[in-house]
């Protein structure tokens, strides 16, 4: 797996725990949703928890856990399955301030969409990372100087730029 953050391939500070693997005493670990409640119960102060959730997860079901999570990774079963974009928006709206990660066979061209919806990092399989190197992810991020939508993260907003131009 390769991890992209701010347009760069970076080392992953998190470890994805397989379901049969025991919880470590410390470190940053990502567990699957069915294990989350139990993991929260036995969490130690040296351990930071993250959760990987399906894109069909109900935000209300995650609400109580969110303040205690350092990371939520939303699984994209296919790159064209856009449910994860809405789930990301809803988690941010619910006040989640930790790392929001998109995980799946996402392509570089979707990077502005992901960032716009509140994702911090993107996790892709190695074969994809080989075809789509860092430069392509960085280029995607720089492709547009402004976005038309309000309330989404973007480099700059068309509406704001317009208002400034009309009333300097």
């Amino acid at each position: 797996m390769a991890l992209i953050s701010d347009g760069r391939f970076v080392e992953d500070a998190w470890r994805r725990l397989a379901d049969e693997e025991a919880l470590p005493k410390s470190g940053k670990v990502i567990v699957s949703l069915p294990r989350l409640d139990h993991a929260l119960e036995i969490q130690t102060s040296e351990m930071t928890l993250g959760a990987i959730v399906p894109n069909t997860a109900e935000p209300s079901a995650l609400m109580s856990a969110l303040p205690r999570l350092g990371l939520v990774s939303i699984a994209f079963p296919a790159f064209a399955d856009g449910r994860g974009f809405s789930l990301a928006r809803l988690l941010r709206r619910a006040g989640f301030a930790g790392e929001l990660r998109a995980s799946g066979r996402l392509v570089a061209d979707q990077y502005p969409h992901l960032v716009g919806c509140g994702f911090d990092t993107v996790e892709i399989p190695d074969d994809l990372a080989e075809r789509q190197d860092e430069s392509q992810w960085r280029a995607a991020l720089a492709a547009y100087s402004r976005a038309y939508q309000r309330g989404y993260a973007a480099r700059s907003s068309v509406l704001e730029a317009r208002r400034k131009a009309l009333r300097p």
């Binding site: 064209a80 856009g82 974009f85 809405s86 969409h113 960032v115 100087s145 402004r146 038309y148 208002r163």
Partner: protein
Amino acid sequence: MTAHDPQATRRPNAPTTTYRYDEFDAAFVRERVAEFREQVRRRLSGALTEEEFRPFRLMNGLYLQLHAYMLRVAIPYGTLIAPQMRRLADIADKWDKGYGHFTTRQNLQYNWPKLVDTPDILEALAEVEMHAIQTSGNCIRNVTADHFAGVARDEIEDPRPTAEYLRQWSSLHPEFSFLPRKFKIAVTGGEHDRAAIMVHDIGLRIVRNEAGEIGYQVVVGGGLGRSPFVGKVVRDFAPRADLLAYIEAVMRVYNRFGRRDNKYKARIKILVHEKGIDEIRAEVEAEFSAIDRTVFAHDPEEFARIAAFFAPPPYEALPAKSPALDAAKLEYPAFANFVDVNVSPHKVDGYAIVTVSLKPIGGVPGDATSDQMRVLADLSERFGFGELRISHEQNVILPHVKQDDLFALWRALDAAGLATANAGLISDIISCPGLDYCSLATARSIPIAQAISKRFSDMSRQRRIGKLGVKISGCINACGHHHIGAIGILGLEKKGQESYQITLGGDPTFSASIGELLGPGVTAEQVPDVIEHLVDFYLSERLENEQFIDTWRRVGHARFKDALRREGEDGADI
């Protein structure tokens, strides 16, 4: 509005009455072209697989068709100005085969572009403030509107500012670009619906509430395709200030809960049908109330800025009646027929709305040659403030013509082969490209349209028959809108043979209805006979002033079926 338009003074008789890009819009479209150029390069280098490239080329209007790529150019709300029409003609000559096809979603399709040329085509479009963004793909498509917007007499408000406002908001939307399926929005501001809003994913009808404020009635879940549905009202009145927030709520509910397991059940119409409008409304309202609306606080100013572009052109003060027009009609019966059929009343005295039919008898519905496009551009500047519209009936509209100029315009149209006086008549057929071009098609559409058109080539007979919408689709995806044709024709394939199902009683307006099946399919050769029998039966049954659809509603489907069965006994195996 000319104040926003630095080029206005360079165009004779052409103050624009449509949206013009500012530096930010222009930058956005340029960036989109650059991005696509790079995507094509990465596709060719192998960085993108065909599967990965596909949604991105589709969101730039590029389809892979039966014989070649097809590029669908957006004509937002069907409005364009003369230089844009000329550019469409130039592109047809340089990169295609000298013609284009106007579609039922007010767009233009080129049927023969090469993949490697498309970035250059998009750049040529960007130079005249056009693009092909979101004319395809599982995203919010080009927003359509009433083609008589701004000039219709029954209008509460011009729907185009709303459509433009939505165009910008939906462009490259971070959250709604990978939807379960395509998403089509139409807006109308009239008391009559000329934009078929009841059969769109979202239909917006501009209305006033009791306090006299403008807002929107929001209809969701309409659609054609293999499971046609008339849309349902989800909100009676959404104030303008809440429009984006409300639509965002609808989109979020659809994006999360629309089916993705089966592409034929993925449109919002299926979600509405399966869950019921009440449950959908509850979901949408809950989402709407959770949305932070402060981010939309400055939208009223932005809406006003956009609306200013659509200010009326500088009309002259003219008398309501034109003696010159009346005299010319008396002298030239062919002109009189053209005026009676193709000219509609304008909201300003002394002006008229002219429909230029792209349905010559025996021709390909919606096709225009590059020469015809240039003639139309020139005529729009000479006679109509340089503005043109594309209707979802696949015709071109000149929306502001002085009644005094109608005769001169008609002569010029006639010289270019563009004076067919059949707007709204039986030969004004809506047709998809069908098996002649399309990889989805199961049967031919264009030759059927041509055969019907030829069968009814006698124009006086057409006028006697009156308004009658014939719509033809070459497969169940229903791009030819056959479900909402008073006579609908659906081409299927049965055991290797083309077979045409005929439906009656479809209606695209506020009184929307889906056509009912007449019986088993017929062969391509039989279609004109069947249509002729149906029309003859209607003529024998109709009361004064009744249109085909009215008679059908009054006498009932069964009697039309019976009439056809009786006719069938005489010969054709129907």
